[in-house]
Symmetry: C2
Subunit: 346 residues, 2 copies
């Protein structure tokens, strides 16, 4: 197959990390300060790598954090963003030949050549051959959200909890978690910011869904915590509303932060509860969790993720599929829509 | 031995816990709202308990938290406060006869009859026969601070840390920790609020001591953290200054809260560090730790504590020994003195 010399890509405008003083929340106010459209050389895959013709690039919260310089790895100016996507392998480096011509889901990790481009580079270890019956829209988000969801269910089970709390529960990720929890007999308690998000999440299997803007939110959450005794909060918000939920939780509560949607930082009003109620606060990062999980558990989760989509337990709600050229104008607004996933189509 | 019918005691004026809205810091503004002098019946020891003629009652931060209704167990109106002390056993319940006439250190746990009185009741399991060579002043603080110090050294070692941070490092507890750390080759980094506390702590073996009121505190702490890489902060403060230290710490930092000296609550300005730097926040409560440690480790620590005093590695700096009658007027002021322990002498 003959490859073109150059490709269209959304490349990063900065190197490294942003300074603490420049940081805001993890939502995207506009794409332009961080990323621009450009034509760059199509890369060659290195040893153990594959070159993918991208069908869909995903836009995850982690991508937004990354391009803003707030993620756990440094930006690289002039190279395409986008951690995840799906497509077809069009060239392979030494040791990655088994993927030649395959349709795969991938994450680009540290390759530097992300999925917001016509071609991306991924390590063979980060590629999953897609089963028949998985659409491009589902395939583009086959790794980050599904594995995060399964990892979090695993954390809840290891904690011996029969119920747990999800903040920002209307996200695509949380929908996967809620469906899996219901299938596993776990009781998911979600918080949202709009009344119209409540019923759809209950229909997915959530045990309780509370609007955090309701006047009775804190007392309602306290009542639910007293009755259901959730000991894990999976928190995408990391703000004052998360702190309020943590205060409502009882003995042994674990506040597990994996994102930040509120700009105002949380205040620990009752640090004595860390002492006497054995509460604690920690973080979750998929990259780290997968490293610690080991090959066997990873392989099981990858298989289960695809099976869940094929069986219909999971589906991807797509808000919008944008051309790369339209991202500058429309991505921030599309991400601000409440209930779905935004994908890029090169 | 003939016992009197009644005794003098500092008894509690409230039951249960204080409301969240009534809570302030863990320091004592005045004794009078919480405790009053009274004559009450001398109790009889129950099964497995001893009655102790108190030589010295200790005043620990946990006592202050308890009488303010902010500790992990409820107050009992009309009964004496005081978790710890030393004295001589003058009566025993069934199964505690082995302590008859013995000079012991004790904690009163849930007995209800605390050490701020002429007589106290303790479970035999919470009594330690005092070795010769231990003074009453050392014996009065033989359990809570020494076992906390040894438990914390154990936590630091289990974390694989070669250095760790102590806030409010001029406390009696922290002096024990610093001396033990130096003996074990661990590097203790202390924070204090007065310049004159710096040199005495360095003389005890602290590697670094910083005044948190210094203009260069945050940058100095950052430099030390970069060089020494402490991963544990043992925190008696639980306020904004603790949060500043936590921000200065690097990957894997554990903020372990065991007290609260600042009324202003801490703010988590960088929740993303919980995710990407695997930082976490938890609490330490001696009662809980001892329960989890098991009999053998507890017995070893109890022995080591006394040996440390006899060997001269540890000593108790006593600010003041107050008669029970003088506590109402003088206890709060004595506790506000920076560097020593306050004891009560019935």
């Amino acid at each position: 197959m003959t490859l073109p010399q150059t490709m269209r890509a959304l490349i990063q405008k900065q190197d490294g990390y942003s300074r603490a003083s420049q940081r805001s929340g993890f939502s995207l106010e506009a794409l332009d300060p961080y990323v621009e459209m450009a034509a760059i050389d199509v890369p060659a895959p290195g040893k153990g790598q594959v070159l993918v013709k991208v069908a869909r690039g995903a836009v995850n919260p982690s991508d937004v954090m990354f391009i803003k310089g707030m993620y756990g790895q440094p930006r690289r100016k002039g190279l395409p963003a986008g951690f995840e996507g799906c497509g077809t392998v069009v060239a392979t480096g030494e040791g990655a030949e088994q993927f030649d011509g395959k349709r795969i889901a991938f994450v680009t990790g540290n390759s530097g050549y992300g999925s917001w481009a016509e071609y991306a580079v991924a390590d063979a270890a980060m590629c999953i051959p897609l089963m028949d019956g998985i659409s491009d829209d589902d395939g583009a988000s086959m790794i980050v959200n599904p594995l995060t969801a399964l990892a979090m269910i695993s954390i809840v089970k290891e904690a011996g909890a029969e119920s747990f709390i999800l903040t920002a529960a209307a996200s695509q990720l949380c929908k996967l978690i809620i469906a899996q929890a219901a299938a596993d007999g776990l009781s998911a308690i979600g918080t949202v910011r709009r009344d119209e998000q409540i019923e759809p999440l209950k229909a997915l299997g959530a045990a309780h869904v509370l609007n955090q803007k309701s006047d009775t939110f804190s007392s309602d959450m306290r009542d639910i915590c007293r009755a259901d005794k959730p000991v894990v909060m999976l928190d995408a918000v990391a703000g004052p509303s998360s702190a309020a939920v943590f205060e409502a939780m009882g003995r042994g509560a674990r506040w597990i932060i994996y994102g930040r949607l509120e700009e105002e930082p949380p205040v620990l009003r009752e640090p004595g509860e860390m002492i006497f109620l054995q509460k604690r606060i920690e973080g979750f990062w998929l990259s780290r969790w997968l490293t610690e999980a080991g090959d066997q558990e990873r392989a099981q989760l990858v298989k289960k993720a695809q099976t869940n989509f094929i069986d219909g337990l999971w589906k991807t709600d797509v808000t919008e599929v944008l051309a790369l050229e339209d991202a500058a104008d429309r991505l921030a607004n599309a991400l601000a829509q409440p209930n779905g996933k935004v994908l890029l189509s090169p």
